[in-house]
Symmetry: C2
Amino acid sequence: MSATKLLVLGIVHLSGGAHGYQVRSELQSWGAESWAKIKPGSIYHALKKAAADGLLTEHAEPGNSGPERVLYRATARGRDEMVELVRDGLRRTHDADMLNASIAMLPMLTRTDAIAQVNERVARLEAELVEQAKWREHPNRDAPEHVRDQAELWAGHARTELEWAKSLSKRLSEGAYTMADDPGSWRTVPGHLKMRF
Amino acid sequence: MSATKLLVLGIVHLSGGAHGYQVRSELQSWGAESWAKIKPGSIYHALKKAAADGLLTEHAEPGNSGPERVLYRATARGRDEMVELVRDGLRRTHDADMLNASIAMLPMLTRTDAIAQVNERVARLEAELVEQAKWREHPNRDAPEHVRDQAELWAGHARTELEWAKSLSKRLSEGAYTMADDPGSWRTVPGHLKMRF
DNA sequence: GGCCAAGTAGTCAAGCTTGACTAGCCTCTA
DNA sequence: TAGAGGCTAGTCAAGCTTGACTACTTGGCC
């Protein structure tokens, strides 16, 4: 699960530099503990790891008020890696956490790129549904009955996701959201103004 | 994620004693690596942990042909704990892995119990959908636009799951599947015959 | 003025998961 | 008949996640 990594990198990028607790609070205000199941401990770990990997830089800040804290800033490599993670998360099926995280970080992509990735997802879901329908005609004798039944649920989820992805693609085409290449995006608006989109 | 624990305990119970590789193969034949994302390493770990916790017993078997191996058998406490895990997984929303694992182990429950748990899930999903609809009328200004959009996807999944759970409940009421209290269940059929339901 | 609750900021050990690796046996084939 | 490849069976270190814990500050209330 690199959803944690994606979200943590994303918040640091969007806010133009942040310390651990800030990342934690921001994710909390997005309701991310519930849909991404991220606990505080993981956030601090992910920040340190990303810094060790050269995706973020660490600046120790003496606590002006309150305890000492560490400021993290994005590096160019970090941004590239994160954009790649978002693209991957949009395409990859069977990974709800990554999808959720990627949606949250959608405006990191340019509009055309985002549309391309979402369309790729649509294509994959359609292919998997075809595959699954085939499987249902020739069920595996080894798998018990209720395991086959479970496949039914998965197919339902896939159809829901398919409709949703199609409508997202459409909305993006119609100009919804402020994407990376739009005026007023996180790339063109200075630091502390970014967090309130 | 205790889905691993549930599946591992479940296979050992259903087969009436198994060694690690057997559990691994059985899960593989169910396609469990894909829907439960379980890797071999986790299986061996889960078996050892369960044995340490008194949920399984360990019997070293000298390898008659091939390497040495360890036989695991279920204990009474292990069965109780597993039944509780299945019930919990059926009720708990927001945890796809547990739900999948619980469905796979559905016949561990008695029919009336299973129906009760599934109905509880239905009730919870309905409540959450109401909650979510309320939230959509008064969206949180702090959360960016696409995060709200993501909620849309979740609602879609919830509706799919709701329909599915209702139909499962109905099928169970109509006598589908061989449950724990039915003749021919895993509780009444001797050991090595159990794996082919 | 003093004390408690809540907020800020983060550490740490323990536990689970992952991916790569070991090692013996069996079967087929050149 | 030697070797490759695959199946059986499992180990292990490294990495990620979790939950509990520390410590300091601020604000409010009696």
